[in-house]
């Protein structure tokens, strides 16, 4: 099976080349037979890559340690689940996995459109094959072939790093990849539009679902990564501004900007060049993210030497794509002229434009900060880096401005808004924001950044809640429905708009959680069994923790474990018992000898905060684990209280809900195709007129 898989990967190469060539030729010469052949090659390459991926999986499941990739990321004792998902445990398999997902989305797109949008599809198929071809070439010729053999058969594999043996770490890469690859479809349609001259909003309308789906997966993928870091890295942190995290944030930022700016092109025929550039930029950033995540270019100092081949391949590809698209855009410049002008500084168009500038500004600063070591080395010969303080300093103000815009955008009028209607729409929300800020100040919260965030959050929530309320009330009155059916119908008649509002609320929830970190509590204790410690939370609760003791177990290799030491702590909240938390140290057989054991934390979550326990150190592991000495159970216990942190995960769920609503298909397909995203709200308007 594995040999078959390897073969399948090799022969996907000529077929991808064929597909690319006949797609472009067929589109240019309008030859339907060539186009059909190109579309079939999309299906065929996907089929072959599925066989290749199955081959890799078979190698893992069969413990085929003659393959470098299997020997590096698996061993005989590894749990079945992690063998199956070994395909994306490391760089090589991930690249094949990427090609597989891209092939899947390409096939889906071609199949969906086999009778539609025919002026685009030949070029779309050709572009998709070109990108797939790039990945095939990388896999086969840049020394990253997952089928590479060792030349001998290792007795056993190295095993999978225990930190990767975690649910979140398994689903985080695929989710991100789904996001990255889904964005290739809008990019392909954009190129097709440049080639066939249909440069109005058509290519955007056709790919709206793909854009939104890609954005959804990107958002969720990033949050999964945050959850993994929070649970597994043992510090209670979820974002470190490290190069890999930043790389996945970049396309998310530009995709969010894109989601907003396309609405302007759809309704007003403006920003055509801007949108073309944004879709190109976002695509390049997804390629850049793959490249950065799976090579080591940023961590190591002077790392050009390490993996030159793959770096050169990726950089050349990105440069070629950039150059090709630039040429096409310049060629089509006359047709990309704007149809209208911005009429007022104070309008929804203007708010969207500021949104774009801010998001791009954030993206630029993240990119700049991440690449700074390389840039400074090229210019000054000296590597200089910037860390989290830089990113926070630049991005906190930008983030707050964006948060405010999220409340301004929904209510400000298109084209031009006057002072009177600004007053009418914004006085209450601004008032609420100020009142909330004052109330928080009075109750003891004085941290300026946190206060500002919460104040603006209150403003945004008021704006959106009012929109929902006005709309529901009006509809209920006019249609004679109860509030619940009215709300349901209101939302269902304009899903993009209301789904979008829900997503804005989700973002607010997450910002509230980020601000909560200003009040994190971090205390360290040294305890013996029976000791009781107290920790106060910023929310006003008191946790009374009793260290019960350390229980140890020698696992002798079961699940790759040598031993476990579990510390049990009983928890009382404000005097009332709320159960027991455990935190552990684990020593795995797959760790290098002499490495310290790994920590598993204990978390107790409520809406208000998390209680986060870390077994930092065992006084005398030797005595208590190896000799079972029950007098040696002293430990270092770190206790963290993290206010509002669960609003991140809740916000993510809300984001998913809102996006699904926005994605939900309408019945009238023809209408849906030209439905601008900014349908004003009839019910809200009547409500406004009524009072």
């Amino acid at each position: 099976m594995t040999l078959l898989g390897e073969f399948a990967l090799w022969i996907s190469l000529p077929f991808a080349i064929w597909g690319m060539v006949v797609g472009f030729v067929g589109g240019r010469t309008q030859r339907g037979d060539l186009v059909l052949s190109a579309e079939r090659s999309v299906y065929a390459v996907f089929f072959l890559h599925a066989i290749a991926a199955a081959g890799v999986m078979a190698a893992f499941l069969g413990d085929r340690f003659e393959y470098w990739y299997v020997a590096s990321y698996s061993n005989a004792e590894l749990e079945f689940f992690y063998k199956v998902t070994g395909l994306w445990a490391g760089q090589r398999g991930s690249l094949l996995f990427w090609a597989l997902i891209l092939g899947f989305f390409s096939s889906l797109c071609v199949f969906q459109n086999r009778k539609k949008h025919r002026e685009f599809m030949p070029y779309v198929a050709a572009v998709l094959q070109t990108i797939l071809l790039f990945f095939i070439i990388v896999l086969l010729f840049a020394e990253v072939n997952p089928f590479e053999r060792l030349g001998f058969t290792a007795v056993n594999g190295r095993g999978l790093n225990p930190q990767l043996q975690n649910y979140w770490m398994v689903i985080h890469p695929p989710t991100l990849y789904l996001g990255f690859t889904a964005f290739t479809i809008p990019f392909a349609f954009a190129i097709a539009a440049l080639l066939n001259g249909r440069l109005d909003a058509r290519w955007i309308q056709l790919t709206r679902r793909w854009i939104l789906t890609s954005w959804l997966f990107l958002s969720v993928g990033i949050v999964f990564g945050m959850r993994w870091a929070y649970e597994e890295l043992g510090w209670g942190g979820y974002w470190f501004w490290d190069p890999v995290e930043n790389a996945s944030l970049l396309p998310w930022l530009t995709a969010t900007a894109f989601l907003h700016s396309i609405q302007i092109q759809e309704t007003r025929g403006m920003l055509k060049i801007w949108n073309m550039s944004l879709v190109l930029l976002t695509f390049l950033l997804t390629i850049f993210a793959t490249f950065l995540t799976r090579s080591g270019i940023i961590e190591s100092v002077h790392s050009f030497a390490e993996e030159p081949k793959i770096m050169i391949t990726f950089l050349s590809f990105m440069a070629a794509v950039f150059a090709g698209c630039a040429v096409l855009i310049l060629y089509r410049l006359p047709q990309l002229r704007t149809e209208n002008q911005i009429e007022s500084f104070v309008s929804r168009e203007s708010a969207f434009l500021f949104n774009n500038v801010l998001l791009l500004g954030a993206a630029f600063s993240v990119f700049f900060g991440t690449m700074f070591p390389l840039i400074s080395e090229l210019i000054t010969g000296q590597e200089i880096s910037v860390g989290p303080p830089f990113f926070q300093r630049v991005n906190f103000p930008i983030g707050l401005a964006l948060l405010a815009l999220a409340g301004i955008g929904p209510v400000i009028a298109w084209r031009r808004a006057t002072k009177k209607n600004l007053q009418k729409n914004f006085s209450t929300p601004v008032m609420v924001g100020l009142v909330v800020t004052a109330a928080l100040w009075i109750s003891g919260a004085h941290h300026p950044l946190a206060l500002t965030t919460w104040g603006i959050s209150a403003f945004v929530v008021t704006v959106i809640a009012t929109e929902f309320w006005k709309g529901t009330k009006a509809r209920s009155r006019i249609e004679g429905e109860g509030y619940i059916p009215a709300l349901f119908h209101l939302v269902s008649r304009n899903r993009r708009r209301w789904g979008g509002y829900i997503v804005h609320v989700a973002i607010v929830m997450m910002f509230m959680a980020f601000a909560g970190a200003a009040y994190n509590v971090d205390e360290r204790f040294h305890v013996q069994p029976g000791d009781v410690v107290e920790v106060d939370s910023p929310m006003g609760h008191t946790y009374t923790l009793t260290y019960e003791g350390l229980s140890t177990a020698r696992q002798n290799g079961l699940r790759n474990l040598l031993w476990q030491a579990i510390a049990t702590v009983s928890v009382q909240k404000d005097g009332r018992s709320v159960g027991v938390l455990t935190t552990e140290k684990r020593q795995y057989t797959t760790q290098d000898v002499g490495s310290p054991p790994m920590t598993e934390v204990g978390i107790r979550s409520t809406f208000g905060e998390d209680l986060y326990l870390i077994l930092s150190a065992i006084d005398d592991a030797e005595a208590v684990v190896m000799r079972g000495d029950s007098n040696a159970q002293g430990i270092d216990l770190q206790v963290l209280v993290k206010p509002l942190v669960n609003w991140i995960w809740l916000g993510c769920l809300t984001l998913v809900g809102g996006t699904i609503i926005a994605l939900w298909p309408s019945v009238d397909r023809k209408r849906a195709a030209t439905e601008p995203s900014v349908e004003p709200d009839a019910e809200g308007a009547r409500a406004g007129a009524a009072g």
Binding site: G32, H117, R493
Partner: protein, 145 residues
């Protein structure tokens, strides 16, 4: 042995699948589909919807009267232009052009001036309509215009 068989089978199958269209002259359709909106239809749609936007922004209190009136006359002119462009495109393409078309245009002009464009589907209803003749939705209480 089975490996070679597998290899041969897969290669042959894929090759056949991909080359069949060229060899046998099978064609993918390259025609624009009938129910797709043309450029001019899409523009007309959007122009009518923008008019509706302005109506509702005013009703919701987002625009004051002066702005509303000037925007509305701008947009009405735009909508009429888009309408005429679309009709011209249709007759160019040889769609059946009845005398009814002229009546249609006149009716639409009238309803644009009277402001009973439907909130949901953009259909221009007759003056005094309470429900849209095209999609059945309730029309806004138009006390202005």
């Amino acid at each position: 042995m089975t490996l070679y068989v597998g290899v041969a089978l897969i290669t042959a199958a894929v090759l056949l699948f991909i080359l069949q269209p060229v060899v046998k002259g099978l064609h993918a359709s390259l025609e624009r589909d009938d129910d797709e909106l043309t450029d001019t239809e899409a523009r007309k749609r959007i122009a009518l919807l923008s008019l509706r936007d302005v109506e509702y922004d005013f009703l919701a209190g987002k625009l004051d009267e002066e702005d509303y009136r000037s925007l509305k006359s701008e947009l009405t002119a735009e909508a009429l232009a888009a309408l005429e462009a679309d009709e011209a495109a249709r007759s160019d393409q040889g769609h059946p052009a009845d005398g009814d078309i002229e009546a249609e245009i006149a009716r639409i002009r009238a309803s644009l001036k009277d402001g009973v464009v439907c909130g949901d589907c953009g259909f221009a209803n007759d003056q005094g309509s309470h429900f849209c003749s095209s999609c059945g939705a309730a029309l806004a209480d138009q006390t202005v215009g």
